[in-house]
Amino acid sequence: MKGNIIKYARDNIDTDVIIPGQYLKVHDYAELATHAMEGLDPDFHSKVKEGDFILSGKNFGCGSSREHAPIALSHCGVKAILALSFARIFYRNSVDGAFLLPIEIDQDAYDGISEGDEIDIDVSKNEIKNITKNQTYKMKPFSEIIGKIIAAGGLFKYKPDQD
């Protein structure tokens, strides 16, 4: 999975800045997407492209349980969030609705990857390639459970192994 990076070099990007409360009444996902990241970066909607990845620091998605947060980002075309760590409800919401991939990275990847870099994520090898800089980093593997929900295509398609 290839895409370009939009980097927010900070911790604690919360769901209120990902999608401010006043838009939680919006039912149309395309319209919701136009307000993604509005609380943090008013230019986000004009710069984001289909297939982009967001890179950020620790505790991404902290705060509210609003599934509107991963929905708004995915309907802008964002396919993955690469972060040093995630808040748990955001993490599960991303996976449950098969909206986007929450990928935990290490400090090397965080420091090495810059705004605009072209990245290739290979989940099967737990590897992130920085095509722009010709570097390779490790991603933290998904837990077996999360990996299965992702592979199934979301919570409603998941069935435990029958044996």
Partner: protein
């Protein structure tokens, strides 16, 4: 080896367990509100599914509702639609709804315990991160997203990864419990463990400092567990818990025998171990005031705002976060907290809008007036809290002091109903989140206790309430 309270509740709710698979956990109570449920009900309709246990599902409307005159129509059309949609969904699927005109309407985390819906040892979910509040009764209470809401509506179960355990031990006694409140204890905990300190864990709050708290105070503590990143927070039930739930509207008929079984089982064994531990001594803690844009950015009321270097301890992102926070908050390091002037005061939210919160705040303002430059409001957490407060004459104390006395709802906690800050306005708020824009675009939030908020309303700036006579 012994088990923790969390492990006991978890194990007693497992429907399916297999190695390297999530556990399928049975859910005893599902609380529903208007914002995170519409897509879940749409999903049920699309797949021709019913609500599996409408009798275990309870709904109310709190996030969107105006807190002004309830006899007037709702002006915001999108809010009106979301509220109407919940009414339709509850009717279509046979779910009990406390609607905007119900005497039981209120913030979902205030009404659950008040109605006896929240029970010790049970599993409770709601599409709201502050569901952790119900942990004060020894329930495992989890905030979930809308996909999971749909899953629980359809199956009364959830696939969950078992969280780790985290003991937060609160030792000591507060010398002045009217000035140093449960809010100050939980803000101190978050200041120390950080906003991600509890990630992937369920916190059990224990120790003398927790045992001494009332149920209203314990709810304030558990409410903000999510602000420390935890999946949930809980407190083992004791006689205070059992007394609180006695004779509530929905308390089960066999309550006495339930209490007998809870007394034997709902506690952490003496030889149980936790994955993580933090100890807070509260003998000398001060009232807390947040200065930044997350709840961990908090200091004592008699301290200056720290510099980004002091705050960050050498962590580059933390430093940058503090710099950005100070810029957003229009504050400078070194400024004494008591010198910060405020424009608005909000006493409300699922954190601090229960009867005891209002009683304590009213003691501060009795016979005084909100200073002329400040606009102050009280929003009771439920219609029941409002009625109880009015029976005690608290409404008169607040109104005489020029506070607005409002109808129940989430109000100015989250900027999605008419109660919002204007850009640049600075608010002393008893809510739970000081994120950028949380209370309205450009609004600046300082998290404090109800007594600290009340004192700030009278004085126009923060005041160390330990200096006031509160007994």
């Amino acid at each position: 080896m012994g088990k923790t309270l969390f492990e006991k509740i978890w194990e007693s709710h497992i429907v399916v367990t297999k190695q390297n698979e999530p556990d399928l956990i049975y859910i005893d109570r599902h609380l529903v509100h208007e914002v995170t449920s519409p897509q879940a009900f749409d999903g049920l309709r699309m797949n021709n599914r019913k609500v599996r246990r409408p009798d275990l599902t309870i709904a109310t409307m709190d996030h969107n509702v105006p807190t002004s005159d309830r006899s007037l129509p709702i002006l915001d059309q999108t809010s009106a639609v979301q509220i109407k949609t919940l009414e339709t969904n509850c009717k279509d699927f046979g779910i009990k709804l406390f609607d905007i005109n119900s005497p039981n309407q209120g913030i979902v985390h205030v009404i659950g315990p008040q109605l006896g819906i929240t029970l010790p040892g049970s599993t409770i979910v709601c599409g709201d991160s502050h569901t952790s509040t119900h942990g004060a009764f020894g329930a495992l209470a989890l905030g979930i997203g809308t996909s999971e809401v749909e899953h629980v509506l359809a199956s009364q179960t959830l696939w969950l990864e078992k969280p780790k355990t985290f003991e937060v031990r609160v030792e000591g006694k507060r010398s002045n419990p009217h000035a140093v409140t449960a809010k100050d204890i939980i803000l101190s905990i978050i200041k120390n463990i950080g906003t991600a300190g509890g990630t992937g864990t369920v916190i059990e709050y224990r120790g003398e400092g927790i045992n001494d708290l009332s149920m209203d105070e314990r709810m304030t503590i558990c409410n903000m567990s999510i602000e420390g990143g935890a999946r949930a927070g809980l407190i083992a039930p004791d006689q205070k818990t059992f007394d609180y739930l006695q004779d509530r509207e929905y308390t089960p008929k066999n309550y006495e025998s339930l209490v007998d079984s809870w007394k034997d089982t709902l506690k952490t064994d003496s030889d149980a171990t936790f994955d993580k531990q933090f100890i807070l001594d509260i003998n000398d803690i001060a009232p807390q005031v947040s200065w930044g844009t997350n709840p961990g950015m908090t200091c004592d009321v008699d301290e200056p705002i720290p510099s980004p270097d002091e705050y960050s301890n050498g962590d580059a992102n933390q430093k940058k976060g503090a710099e950005k926070a100070l810029e957003y908050m229009d504050l400078k390091s070194g400024t004494m907290i008591e010198d910060i002037k405020i424009d608005r005061v909000f006493i409300g939210s699922c954190t601090n809008a229960r009867l005891e919160d209002l009683i304590e705040a009213s003691k501060i303002i009795q016979g005084q007036k909100v200073t002329s430059s400040v606009n102050a409001m009280v929003v009771p957490g439920s219609q029941m809290v409002k009625r109880q407060a009015e029976e005690m004459g608290l409404d008169k104390i607040f109104i005489d002091a020029n506070f607005e006395w409002r109808e129940a709802g989430c109000s100015m906690c989250l900027g999605m109903n008419p109660d919002i800050l204007s850009p640049g306005e600075r608010c002393a708020s008893t809510s739970n989140r000081n994120f950028e824009g949380r209370q309205g675009n450009g609004g600046r939030t300082h998290l404090v206790s109800p007594v600290m908020a009340a004192a700030a309303a009278i004085n126009g700036h923060f005041v160390d309430v330990r200096k006031l006579d509160l007994n």
